[in-house]
Amino acid sequence: MDGAHDMGGVKGFGPVEPEANEPVFHEEWERRAFALTVAMSRPGGWNIDMSRFARENRPPADYLSKTYFELWLAGLETLMIERGLVTREEIEAGKMLAPAKPGVKPIAPSEVTPAIRRGGPTERTPPAPALFNVGDIVRMKDIHPVTHTRLPQYVRGRLGTIELNHGCHVFPDVNSLGKGEDPHWLYTVRFDGRELWGKEGDPTLSVSVDAWEPYLERA
């Protein structure tokens, strides 16, 4: 979706403000919201693309007014409500009002470290040969889905060069809809800074995105 999360090239946000000796978390609730989100993913039955969409799918003013972990919390609540794991009434009341959804098993303490160390690799066996080779010039499609996509607006319609081929990976646009992993070839596509930002762009700049084959067309 073309939402406030898609920030590449947007003006007016001001300078970057690094914090010296920054802690991993700034508030106790951030620790718990982070851990709850990570720990609920498997029992909740959603994937990373669904989580990302749950965070970004909101009015721009809402997205921009929330801190990072407030967005995580809001996303977690949405995902759980959608699946009937908790009700909105329970969240608002702050207590359990409805029985647990049967068959939901928590991550046991002994599973935590192995699960984090394993992660969730997204590479899959290729269903078909790659359409593009390293060095090919491609144009990014000009698509505007209302659902989740990982093709940022600032590269749509632009010409780039295939620089790396990463193999076949789970395709977020479909995986986020719960319609299967639909793996596609994933490439690093590099753009000249001036192709993206015009003649006034930094002549020493090049930018790349990682793009699945369905985002690309032959130039």
Binding site: V16, A108, R117, D210
Partner: protein, 212 residues
């Protein structure tokens, strides 16, 4: 939008009145999920401990120092980063598919995620607030020299700047240039010069005189 400072302070004040509300909301949610049997609070404690104590930039620092000290390791790292990083026992969530990009006198690399907060957790830990912030996500791809200035870094005008926007599940780590004057340094000494920001590309390694 009005000036950044104004927004910052406004947001800060706003936070204070709502902070306890959010804290209460998260506590209540944890109780509900525990009571329903969806989460085990001990697992939550362990997750937090992992990300506060075990998974952090010190891991990436080891990777970079080893690459500086050991040419064969550097070659493996640039060829297959996921496997070379796992030699040091770092792997997993948000680092399943690693690529290491090398800074040279000709090209400086910088990593961003314009769409959310993608970051190589096993080697750098959780991202700092600025990495997830609108100013960084919006400007890194259009004005990386301006961003570098915010970090007090200025590069020669002729240096090419290469920005990697992490839009998929590939995670990027920058291999900074080994500082001059460290030719006879050990891996342990070199590690003192590596900073987190130098592995994101928003900073440079410390010089020999600057090591702690």
């Amino acid at each position: 939008m009005s000036g950044h400072d104004h927004d910052h302070h406004h947001h800060h004040d706003h936070d204070h009145s709502e902070l306890s509300e959010t804290e209460l909301r998260v506590r209540a949610l944890e109780s509900i999920l525990t009571e329903k049997g969806y989460v085990d609070p001990t697992s939550l404690d362990l997750l937090i401990e992992l990300y506060e104590k075990k998974i952090g930039p010190r891991n990436g620092i080891r990777v970079v120092a080893k690459a500086w000290a050991d040419p064969a390791y550097r070659a493996r790292l640039l060829k297959n980063a996921t496997s070379a990083i796992s030699e040091l026992d770092y792997s997993g969530r948000q680092g399943e598919h690693m690529v290491v990009v090398e800074n040279t006198p000709e090209q400086h690399n910088m990593v961003v995620c314009t769409l959310c907060s993608c970051y190589p957790h096993p080697v750098l830990g959780l991202p700092p607030v600025w990495y997830k912030s609108a100013p960084y996500r919006s400007r890194a791809v259009a004005d990386p020299r301006g961003v570098l200035k915010d970090f007090g870094v200025s590069l020669p005008e002729t240096t090419k700047i290469r920005v990697w926007d992490s839009t998929a599940e590939i995670r990027y780590l920058v291999l900074p240039m080994r500082p001059e004057g460290t030719e006879d340094w050990s891996e342990q000494q070199l590690a003192e010069l590596v900073t987190r920001d130098s592995m994101i590309g928003t900073g440079l390694p410390k010089r020999p005189g600057e090591a702690a």
